[in-house]
Amino acid sequence: MNRKLTSTSRRAFLRGSAAMAAGGLAGAAGANGADPLITETQDWAIYTGAGVDETPYGLPIRFEEDVVRRNVEWLTASPISSINFTPIHALDGTITPQGCAFERHHSGAIELRKEDYRLMINGLVATPLVFDYTDIERFPRENHVYFCECAANTGMEWAGAQLNGVQFTHGMIHNMEYTGVPLRTLLNEAGLGAAGDLADKWVYVEGADASSNGRSIPMEKALDDVLVAFKANGEALRMEHGYPVRLVVPGWEGNMWVKWLRRIEVTDMAVGSREETSKYTDVYEDGTARKWTWVMDAKSVITSPSPQSPVRHGHGPMVISGLAWSGHGQITRVDVSRDGGMSWETARLGKQGDSKALTRFYLDTTWSGEEMLLQSRAMDETGYVQPTKTQLREQRGENSVYHNNCIQTWYVNAEGVAENVEVS
């Protein structure tokens, strides 16, 4: 096994053990004599650590300070109606820690107490109803894991390779285990008899915040798998994710996942709200636009190596890791290319992912310092294959803004540094 230090790791070694720990080079110290981290008794083996009474609710250890949400100032006019990004370059598995799961607000994250919470169901129902928070918890509940992906995720990349980090190119996404009540249960409680034929009916949902974020959902979806959720990853929703109640719309664009949900109205037509006309409509090359592009198509991205997660370990065994997901159901396969799409290898799924949820994939491989053009390509249970950016542009041009599920390329140089590129 090759234990020779690369130039990168040699510099790290000279910077001392802190850099070594960050670079994961502890094993390499053997070439320079005994490892003092082993031969010298360390403080943590002598003194005591923190007591169980010190941290009622913990945060990550300080060495993980890179694993935080970030924003890009120039993207929006105001941080109140804006986006930030999940640090997917540093995460593994599939469940997103809530504390660093991305946020997208249109009038900021509001503070709404459970005691002040009201949910109204009105419109074409037998009995318009008002629920308080305690009512919601008294209905039979379900647990499901789903991804929430902003329609604009990867949107800055339509016209070219722009942002140099997977957190920024693909980080408008999180994946949580939700506890909630099926929307159909609440609709049945109000009674859909007054709606007549349900085939052409809609459900209009809106939030308690100033932006309201109203969206129209076809009744078929509303009665299928939409959840009125009050817990995520085991605990109450975070304020910024809609506390105390949000809508979960599996497989569909994140904008429809209305937070601080306050009203559900059964209507006989789509409302044509601002968020489904001015926004969340996708302009074609000829100037016409698609509306009601609800489903998020199959997509994947390599999270490591990536620009924020370079290869620091030198040559030899290397794990290529990433995420895949589809709004149409389960991910069945992910292929990885190291040569910009000339040839592909089928990756290993960490485990079979849930339907409409993130799936982790790994390619266990070796690296000898050759330049790589890394790509991943997802397939879902409908047989749909994730397209290239060229394929998408041929269909849509470059002004869609939303729904960019193209294959992403990272150029990895001989030093292990990765860069966001486009290839022929």
Binding site: D135, P140, R274, R290, E419
Partner: protein, 198 residues
Amino acid sequence: APQPGDGYGLGRSALAEEIAAWDVDVLPDGRGLPEGRGDVFTGEEKFAEACASCHGDFAEGVGNWPVLAGGFDTLARKDPVKTVGSYWPYLSTVWDYVHRSMPFGQAQTLSDDDVYAIVAYILYSNDLVDEDFELSHENFADVEMYNADGFVVDDRPEREYTGWRVDPCMENCKETVSITMRSTFLDVTPEDGGESVM
């Protein structure tokens, strides 16, 4: 135990005034509009007071704030300008959104007549009505939006899915590969991997 569909007897009936307070959405055919009216001249005054600091005196936008007027026939260009005039299909959306969510930071402070006047002014700023125009619940449906027919329902199933559900190539998929664009040339990524929001 109650069975799903039977109802659980949870919640209470919503009162008429509660529904009226919260159900203020306006449908494309005008249903949901309250009675009221406002003219362009009044709208110009209201817009100057409540809106122009972000959206400009002529609804042309200030800095990064949204442009509400102009941009006609730019939708097929490299950089389309999507405004109420050039892009929005329904007038109902303008009324509903202004009434519900604007001004930014002071939403739901405009009277119904204020909203009619401001919407009339936005129409005027887009050259869609004359300067003596008055908008009301009575003539609302007569206004024709420029891009009303500019939208198609999601056609990915027929345009994309049929062609992209194929067995993908695994070997010799391309003759050559070259890098055509690099993000580091743009250098727009935040320093140190981006500004932390902590």
